[in-house]
Symmetry: C2
DNA sequence: CGCCTATTTGATCTGATTCAAACAATGTGG
DNA sequence: CCACATTGTTTGAATCAGATCAAATAGGCG
C-alpha cells in the first residue's frame, strides 16, 4: 500500500466502474493536485462549509458523518483510496455533513474550477464523475437497508464484504486479507451498534470461522458464507472490472 | 392536487433547488412524455432491469425499495410529485433496487436519449439533473442517520418534517396540512419499525399535540416542536426557494 | 350486509444497550 | 528500558426499546 502521491489510484477506481481511454487517464493524472497529509481523526470539511476544492483520497480511510445532539455519531459513508468523498460539493455548494479522517491520510485537493475544466474538455470524464456520485448514492441506499433491516451479525458481515470488494476493486487486497483500520467503536458508529455488541458479534463470527480480525488486518476466511449470512450481492457497487 | 399531466410540477421541483431560465423551463415542458397511469402497489422497474427511460413523477407517491430473504422490505426513498425517482439509470444502467407506486400514480416516461439531448443542449439543465441526483443522495444519507441513530419518536417526527417540507417546496401543502397517503405498515417499512410500534408512537405524538393524522391527511400542529424532537434541519434538502 | 384492509390495544419476548470493570496493546517521557 | 497513561478489546450483569404474537375494533366499499 505505497503512498505514491499521484492520482493513479483514482484512475484505478474510475476504471473499475467504467474503463478510461489513455487520454482521459492522463487528464486525471495531470490534474493540479495540492497534496496534503492529515492525522487521524481530523476534519477536512464541516457541515455548513462551502468548499472550493474536492478531495482525491490517495491513501488512508475517511469518514463522512453526522452528529446528533447527545453526541451520537453516525458514519454515513466510508472512503478508501481512490474515492472522491466530497465530489458532490461540485454542485451542492453547502456541506450537509462532516468529512474527516479515520486514519492518517494523504489527500489531493483539486480546485472545483480544475474539475469543471477537465469535465468539459472530456465529456466522458464528466459522466464518470457523475457516475462516481451515483455509485456513492447507491452505496448509501444499501446502508439504509443494512442499518434498517439486518440484525447485528448480518450487518457486520455485510460491512466486511463491502469493504473487501471495494478494496479489491482498486487492487488493495492481499489475497483474502485487507487493511481494516477501524476500532470496534468506529465500526459501531458505522453500523449503528454499540461497541460492546460489535465486540460480541465479531467474537461470534470468529468462532464461526468466517473472519480473522487482528491489529487492523481483516482476513475473510469464507467469503461465500459471509456473503450468505448478510445476503451480500455486489450489484449495488456497480463494479465492472477488478484492478490488475 | 390536480393531475395536469404536464411536467409543470417537475419544473417547480427543479426550480426549488436552482432557478431555471424561461428557456430551460420550456425545454423541460416540451420533453417527449409518454404519460402512463399506474395503480397502487405496482412495480415500475425492478432490480436487474436496464431501463431506457426515466420517470417524471407527475402525481402520486412512489417508493424505491429493497427486499431481504424472509420478506423484510426496506423503503430506501420516497418519491413525491416533481421527483425523478430513477434519474440515476441515465448513467447507472443496472437497477440495484425496485421502483414502485405507493398510491395511484401518473408518470411521464422520458427516453434517456431525450434527456441526454436536452442536457447537452442546455448545460445548466445537465447540472440541474446531476444536482437532482445529488440531493437524492443527500436525503438517503439523512435516512441512514434517521434509521441508525434516532429512537422511534424522533424517527417518525423526522419523516413527517421531511415530507412536509418537500411537498411545500413544490406547493403541495395546504397550510400545515399535506396528503400523507401511507399506511402505518408502509411507514414502518420506511423507518425500520414494526407497524405496531409505529402505531403506538403516532398515538403518543397525537397525545403530545404535535400532529393530526387521519385518512391520509397529515396536519403539523407544531412544526417547531416536531423539528426539535427529531433534530430536523432543512439544509440536507438543499431547497433554495419555495414554490409560489 | 359482509368482506377486506388498516388501526388500535394487550401481553410477552428478545436483540441490543448501558453500566461497570478487567485486561491487553501501544505509546510517551524520563 | 521501564513506569505510567491512553486507547482499544473483552466479559459480566441489569435493563430497555422495540419486535412479535394475538385479538379486538374501526373504516371503506362492492
Amino acid at each position: 500500500m505505497p503512498s505514491t502521491s499521484t492520482a493513479e489510484i483514482v484512475v484505478k477506481k474510475l476504471h473499475s466502474i467504467d474503463p478510461l481511454t489513455e487520454e482521459e487517464r492522463t487528464a486525471i493524472l495531470t490534474l493540479p493536485l495540492q497534496i496534503r497529509k492529515f492525522a487521524r481523526g481530523q476534519d477536512v470539511a464541516r457541515e455548513g462549509d462551502q468548499p472550493s476544492h474536492s478531495c482525491l483520497l490517495l491513501d488512508g480511510w475517511m469518514q463522512r458523518y453526522k452528529v446528533l445532539g447527545e453526541g451520537k455519531r453516525q458514519i454515513i459513508a466510508i472512503g478508501v483510496p481512490g474515492d472522491m468523498p466530497d465530489l458532490q460539493t461540485l454542485h451542492l455548494e453547502l456541506m450537509d455533513h462532516n468529512l474527516g479522517t479515520l486514519t492518517p491520510c494523504t489527500i489531493g485537493l483539486v480546485p472545483h474550477t480544475a474539475l469543471r475544466k477537465v469535465a468539459s474538455d472530456h465529456p466522458r470524464l464528466a459522466t464518470a464523475f457523475w457516475r462516481e456520485t451515483l455509485v456513492d448514492g447507491s452505496i448509501t441506499r444499501e446502508w439504509v437497508l443494512n442499518v434498517g433491516s439486518r440484525v447485528a451479525y448480518g450487518r457486520l458481515a455485510h460491512l466486511f464484504c463491502e469493504m473487501f470488494v471495494r478494496l479489491r476493486a482498486v487492487g488493495l487486497n492481499d489475497g483474502n486479507t485487507i487493511d481494516f483500520p477501524l476500532s470496534q467503536h468506529v465500526v459501531g458508529d458505522t453500523t449503528a451498534l454499540s461497541n460492546v455488541h460489535v465486540n460480541r458479534t465479531i467474537m461470534a463470527m470468529r468462532q464461526d470461522g468466517l473472519i480473522s480480525l487482528d491489529r487492523g488486518r481483516l482476513t475473510i476466511n469464507d467469503f461465500d458464507r459471509l456473503a450468505r449470512a448478510s445476503e451480500f450481492r455486489t450489484d449495488y457497487l456497480h463494479i465492472r472490472a477488478v484492478a490488475a
